[in-house]
Subunit: 602 residues, 2 copies
Amino acid sequence: MYKVRFEPLGRQATFDRPLTILQAAQNAGVEMLALCGGQGTCARCRVKVRGDGMPPVCERERGVFNADELAEGYRLACRTTICSDVVVVVPEVSRPRRQRLQVAGQEHPVTCCPPVRKVCLQLPEPTLEDTRDDLRRLVEAGREDHGIKLAARDVTALAQLGPAARRGNWLITAALRGRDLIGVEPGDRSGNVHGVAVDLGSTKIAVYLVDLLTGVTSGSSGVPNPQIAYGEDIVSRITYALDSELGAQRLQGVVVDALNGAVAMLCDSAGIVPEDVLEFTVVGNTAMHHLFLGLPTAQLSRAPFVPVAASPLEVTARSLGLRGASGAIVYCPPCVAGFVGSDHVAMVLASRMAGLPGTVLGIDIGTNTEISLKHNARLQAVSCASGPAFEGAALCWGVKAAPGAIERVWIDPDSHAVHAVTIDGQEPVGICGSGILDCVAGMLQAGMLDRNGHVLGNSPAIRLGADGLRELVVARSANGAAITVSQRDVERIQLAKGAIRSGIDVLLDAAGIAWQDIDATILAGAFGTFIDPLSAIRIGMLPPVDPDCIVQVGNAAGVGAKEVLISMERRHAYEELAETIEYLELTVYPRYSRVFARSLRF
Amino acid sequence: MYKVRFEPLGRQATFDRPLTILQAAQNAGVEMLALCGGQGTCARCRVKVRGDGMPPVCERERGVFNADELAEGYRLACRTTICSDVVVVVPEVSRPRRQRLQVAGQEHPVTCCPPVRKVCLQLPEPTLEDTRDDLRRLVEAGREDHGIKLAARDVTALAQLGPAARRGNWLITAALRGRDLIGVEPGDRSGNVHGVAVDLGSTKIAVYLVDLLTGVTSGSSGVPNPQIAYGEDIVSRITYALDSELGAQRLQGVVVDALNGAVAMLCDSAGIVPEDVLEFTVVGNTAMHHLFLGLPTAQLSRAPFVPVAASPLEVTARSLGLRGASGAIVYCPPCVAGFVGSDHVAMVLASRMAGLPGTVLGIDIGTNTEISLKHNARLQAVSCASGPAFEGAALCWGVKAAPGAIERVWIDPDSHAVHAVTIDGQEPVGICGSGILDCVAGMLQAGMLDRNGHVLGNSPAIRLGADGLRELVVARSANGAAITVSQRDVERIQLAKGAIRSGIDVLLDAAGIAWQDIDATILAGAFGTFIDPLSAIRIGMLPPVDPDCIVQVGNAAGVGAKEVLISMERRHAYEELAETIEYLELTVYPRYSRVFARSLRF
């Protein structure tokens, strides 16, 4: 009988016979990557073991780990048999990422202090002897009962006062934002305070309904951004907004409709109505931010790519057509630059990277990839045009991350056998971003690609494609078609990873440090959450940092949007952060082209 | 050769032969009332004469003036022949009121200090090395060049910044309200600062376009209130707003459309566009105020007739659908009570009655008549349901004050001959309010009515009407029909004047004074401007005050709306005034029914 405790999950199990750590984990219900099925070849089941009576390190492990790692206790879970009490630390990198709800992200506890609240008030009923107007009654009750110097600057909210007071028999609930009246309801509804946080991505919109009394997320929803119908990428949407007379209005309108739909659904599930939503926060890249607010975007598509406004903005939900409380406000926290939007600042905020010790890299991978480097007290940010390849677009067999998409690939370096895992285990339909990354990384490791990105013909997994160029056969679809990664696909990935890597390298160069100085790397966003960091390192998208110091935080932008929704303290922190982040324009960085050329190589 | 100077006009003329003062005035082009054609019977040509060598007072004059008046130099102009230098003071009451533009009112000089202004700024052009957003450039230029801590809270105004800066080659004009950006234009447009003041009457809307740099009214326009199509009086409009789902919206919409039309026309004449209008002020009775702002009105039609809000309100013109600068604000100054609106406060403000010495009565005659009494430091106000009779409605031959309307009537007390004067001298089509008032006053003077309001049959001008009741034949229309004032008409006027008089008497009673204590009476509004104050006194609508102390100020509400538009100082004065005015509810005044019964008698 011996005990195994798995950290950081804190799960413990007792066994009565010797097992490999992988078997023990599987028996204890602890999920661990084992792409090769526990044959010791994929080397993905890296764990750190503390305990006595461990078997000696095997040949394979010596090939995988360096001396430092071995000294720290690193083992391959499938190669290490245990039979005494041990503590097994399963690093992030060795755990499968099953999370499909792409709106979730790693959260830190935040104390609720939203900008809105509700107060219940008993007003004196008017008589012919006391003909003060309704508002004066409300103001005086607010002052006497709650010490509030109430202001009624929103006439639509004010319009609710008369009927609500009479329907509620002069017992009313006033919704306030600061001292501003933003809604009135009959009776006591003071327990009903909600907000909506939105991460407005160019592809996906994440919507969170939050109880502002508790800070609890009552529901969340990810909906496709309907602007895609008017342009897959941002530049084509800006062009549409410019060319068509009502284009900008339409782009704004479809997003608002989508938000109204998502909010209505979330409210319905939570047993409330959209009018119970007192505050909205919306983060997004600068173009999304401008389109959403009705700000002109033409200037964002032309050098020097300057936003109209990068400061915090507040508009009434009503003026945008968003359903909510009468005077509900949409708070759009500040952007940093034309290509560093409020979603990136929200990610930096939610990841707490500014407060982490040492040097921290924060990366938000998308069509545009924003990267921030925190070094000493400085935070510098760049934006790289990484293109849509990582999102599965513009590739032969590229698909979105949906059931049937090949999301994980491991190529045996010796046999060149290709192991592909699809989302939900369904028949393969194509390859999504994380799968492509694994393919290229696997091809590199197996020597099927040279440093310039040429697919070599030395493998049974490689064939000649219809275009006369070589391609890797990854799997076969249900109808027998070969799902492949072509030479062109490899080149697109090469450009994308080169863009990202050059951004990282410029940031390091500007800070006067090397990649060895990076203490932690944060990967955010849907793609950043699902990729295998080892593959990212292998293809050179990321510098060869310690994989255990890579944290994949999920939709941190959405988490940031929630934080600024539920807490004014976090809102102030966000605004300070946005002021702190220095934007570094890559195109005018002195050594940029040299850095970029170097970044292209595998 | 002798000289005659006419005051307060300051006109002077020289004559070489003896003339009556009336003849001299007519020769000098000084307009003076002479309803009887200078026969000494109507006694309307009262003047005050200073000079030596005046002829003795005649019998007729002794019958018209009391000893005090004679001692002051009062004469009848048609009875007094002059042949030496004199100064003739022609009191207000002896001058005809020809002014047809019912939007004009007596104005006092006001120093311009509007809430809005424009500043011209040269912004630094962005480059790849200086990628600050447009707004930051604007804020920094505003701070450096003008010491303004500019805020961009209106996103629509902000949206103009990007294109304007680029079109104006980075020279822009920012429209500001306080420190808030409300509009941006390319180039230097700082000389172009306009505002619109509105007096929103239930019958007529008066619109004034004002240059806010000079305070000069560039143009004014009176348009009918299109809500009339949905209800002649306020109660039927409130009912319409309640009964029909979109009723309130429609009532708001038609007024906004009418305003947009009037503003566009005025702007066109002034060579500007509605987007040059940076601020609006709107005064009106409380129901108009609520309907305009989209506040519910049901409660205004039910006791205790309490407004939703009587405090100053500001809304964006855009949210109401009013065309103006992007972030233009509509300022609606406060009301006092459900039936004492902001138009009445504006009248009290514009007439300066609060600052006049002694005890002053201010009366705004309409379907509802608001009356304020200033006595010592107190200002008390009542509202009386005087009905539409004075506006020509609900009377047999009642018409609006338009060409052909009989506006002035004089009945010879001896011969009972009826002299009728129509607007613009056209063929008579009916009788407007001031004409009706003259008829009733004339009938009283000629003994054709008893104190209870019964038409007596003792006169050739009286006949039996189709309803079997007596009626006065005032004139004949072009087709020979008799234009009459019926017994029913007299009763309606009796009710109307009784309502007004009882309001005055309650105010006097509440202040503990008598009508003899009134030092000045101000009559405002279209009707108050055109009536003959002597007729008003004769029928008992007004107490028998000195007619020379009656001032008819025209559309003082419109003047007040202009004052609060062009001057923040006047706006503060208005708001203080609104706080000062105490509303007195007639229906709960202890002695009201007795006072009203007494007020009905002629």
